[in-house]
């Protein structure tokens, strides 16, 4: 999901940083001071969980937990994802610094979208089946949206990326299914164990 350095045009990089700065500023404003510690620790838990490889079928994958971050942290997901990607760039050299804005926008906007659309529905759902279905859709949609945003960035940089975008999109569909299932399991478990936990 990380866009590599040097791929995007300057205009897209600037637009990405502008969007990220606005999102992070709004996210920090909406996150109260006393919730900063909670946001930070949950962000680190998600960061660690996303590093673990899970073997499914013949291949293995690592989950991104975009949707759970949105559903649990709400607006705080924007700064949390920014920090997680910054740490990934510093510690593991994934992504990069110049492209950090575009990468954050591509991953944090779906988290926020999912929170705004499904947050209330999942919180108010009483039946486990409904929670699982909505969480699955949220998880699936988050990954598809993130892939679409990356595709839009690449497409706006150069129209010749079209075949690569199609490949990227197709490659993300199975990942979205796994992510949807993981979100469904996680959110239904949290709903049962600590219903007040969801934002």
């Amino acid at each position: 999901m990380h866009i590599s350095e040097g791929v995007l045009s300057t205009q897209i990089l600037i637009a990405g940083w502008a969007g990220t700065c606005a999102g992070v500023a709004l996210g920090l404003k909406k996150t109260k001071d006393y919730k900063i510690v909670r946001t930070a620790l949950l962000s680190s838990a998600f960061f660690l969980a996303s590093l673990v490889n899970i073997r499914i079928g013949p291949s293995s994958t690592h989950l991104s937990f975009i949707a759970p971050m949105g559903l649990i942290l709400g607006w705080g997901a924007f700064p949390a994802i920014f920090v997680a990607l910054l740490l990934q760039a510093v510690l593991f050299q994934f992504g990069g610094f110049i492209v950090l804005g575009a990468n954050t926008l591509a991953m944090a906007s779906p988290a926020l979208f999912v929170y705004l659309i499904f947050g209330k529905i999942i919180r108010n759902s009483q039946k486990k089946f409904n929670v699982m279905i909505f969480s699955f859709i949220a998880g699936f949609l988050a990954v598809i949206l993130a892939a679409s945003i990356v595709g839009v960035f690449l497409g706006l940089t150069d129209k010749n990326f079209l075949t690569a975008i199609k490949l990227l999109f197709i490659a993300h569909v199975p990942l979205a299914l796994v992510e949807g299932l993981a979100t469904a399991f996680l959110i239904s478990w949290l709903k049962k164990a600590a219903p007040e936990f969801l934002f």
Partner: protein, 163 residues
């Protein structure tokens, strides 16, 4: 460097195979790989050796909001705190169900993640109380220079309360 080499190779192969014209694709891939390498080398020389504390100081210089700086430091600290718990949980999962595969494993993993999230939330409450006892975020970080007076002030007020 190995990672960078493979990433660049992947970019060149992808652009060559997916571009309408193979030569154009190869050249585009090559230019992207070159840009990527230059940016990476600049970061490797100027940014990565500085570590998080260096980046933190640069952020103070650039007037990055304090909330964001604290969030970065606490997230980094949280990674080291929760890493051990995660490893222990994963080892226990392996020992309890060594033959677990596919979706059953995914389900167990998400439940482990859920329980660690709850533990993290509990721990964050305790950390927050400890930070408050130390005078709030003003006394949080020792490498911060610009608000030392506030730290001294808040320490004095805490001392007065304790007396």
């Amino acid at each position: 460097m190995k990672k960078l080499f493979f990433a660049n190779l992947l970019i060149i192969i992808t652009t060559t195979l997916t571009w309408p014209d193979i030569n154009d694709g190869f050249l585009t891939g090559l230019s992207i790989a070159l840009k990527c390498s230059v940016i990476y080398l600049i970061c490797a020389v100027f940014i990565f050796p500085k570590g998080i504390s260096g980046i933190y100081k640069a952020m103070i210089f650039l007037h990055v909001p304090e909330k964001l700086r604290i969030l970065i430091l606490l997230t980094l600290r949280g990674i080291f705190i929760l890493k051990e718990r995660f490893e222990a949980a994963l080892i226990s999962l392996k020992l309890r169900a060594p033959k677990q595969k596919n979706f059953a494993k995914l389900k167990s993993f998400t439940h482990i993640t859920g329980s660690i999230l709850l533990q993290a939330a509990d721990r964050s409450e305790r950390m927050e109380r400890a930070i408050k006892c130390r005078g709030g975020f003003q006394g949080f970080n020792s490498i911060r220079n610009e608000k030392n007076e506030n730290v001294i002030e808040s320490s004095k007020s805490l001392l007065q309360i304790s007396r």
